[in-house]
Amino acid sequence: MESGIVNILVDISLMTLLGITAIGIVRSRNLFATAMLSGIYSLISAAVFVTLDAVDVAFTEAAVGAGISTVLMLGAMTLTRRSEKHAIKLHIGPLFVTIGIGAALIYGTVDMPPFGSTDAPGFQHIVPEYIAGSRDDIQVPNIVTSILASYRGFDTLGETAVIFAAGIGVLFLLGRRREDEEADESSNSGKGEDA
């Protein structure tokens, strides 16, 4: 029981930090600050994943969200603008929409199995089989790896193909350019810097 209370306190304080960071993102007009705050948001959420026992996910989130994604945001920002044009003000329409959707979602959680319950439908059926199979048939200690690569290998093949496709897409949009565009860019280079 003692450790349960500690868990809840750690969880709630991390979640509060997340909330503060998210509100910081809403309120900041400077896109540099926004990019850094979104990196912080990812790092804190990685900590939340650790408290929820998802170490593999936390690892990925820390490497991707706080590392690569922040660098990409900064790269995109230097190619566009440093700050938003319009002042931050409260938009009543979107506020009502989000409050409405949020209320509906919270109403939906009332019927959900309690947090941390092992009687939840997600724990029945296939998952015990995966855990037993990982121990007896595959003999790989990390159950996440055995599900990822073996039981759901087809799924992971699809995800790899999506990453492949997204990479090709970025190269199409931003990749190497033809000579004439290159020359065009050098004559316009003054334009990019005043942004």
């Binding site: 690892f59 490497a63 990390n142 790899t160």
Partner: protein
């Protein structure tokens, strides 16, 4: 970034260890947290760090564009090829049991190869994306900040 001596020295020291750590994450993924997705991102992060400190030109020399063009599809092909190999050996698509003499050995081999394929594609895509952005960015001067 010519004059950032501390950054240059520290990153030069760190980059080999980041690469080594990526390989550890890649091949130790069966036993602890890790796997192809994380290893690929960490491996790419080492090159991103190198590009940030020593310039994109130097990083492009260290990891040429022609490698990227080969490695991006190669990872997916390794993954799909494992599936084809298991088909040819008499199993179903991506059924690793038939890859080695024992089903467990086959599973271990299959998981290792497939994770390697994922790692190759993720590494190459992340580096390619970073180079695509950095190739367009004007050099940021220190007094711009």
């Amino acid at each position: 970034m010519r004059h950032h001596l501390i950054l240059r020295v520290v990153s030069k020291l760190l980059i080999p260890f980041i690469l080594l750590y990526a390989l550890y994450v890649q091949f130790h993924g069966d036993f602890g947290p890790g796997g192809g997705f994380q290893a690929g991102v960490i491996f790419a992060a080492a090159f991103v760090l190198y590009a940030l400190i020593f310039g994109v030109q130097a990083a492009r020399k260290a990891f040429p564009d022609s490698w990227l063009a080969i490695l991006i599809p190669l990872g997916v092909l390794i993954f799909a090829g494992t599936g084809i190999a298991s088909l040819l050996l008499g199993g179903t698509f991506l059924d690793y049991d038939v890859l080695a003499s024992t089903p467990t050995g086959g599973q271990h081999l299959g998981i290792l190869v497939v994770e390697f394929g994922v790692g190759v594609t993720v590494t190459a895509v992340m580096i390619a994306i970073f180079f695509a952005y950095a190739g367009r960015t004007h050099e940021i001067q220190d007094d711009d900040w």
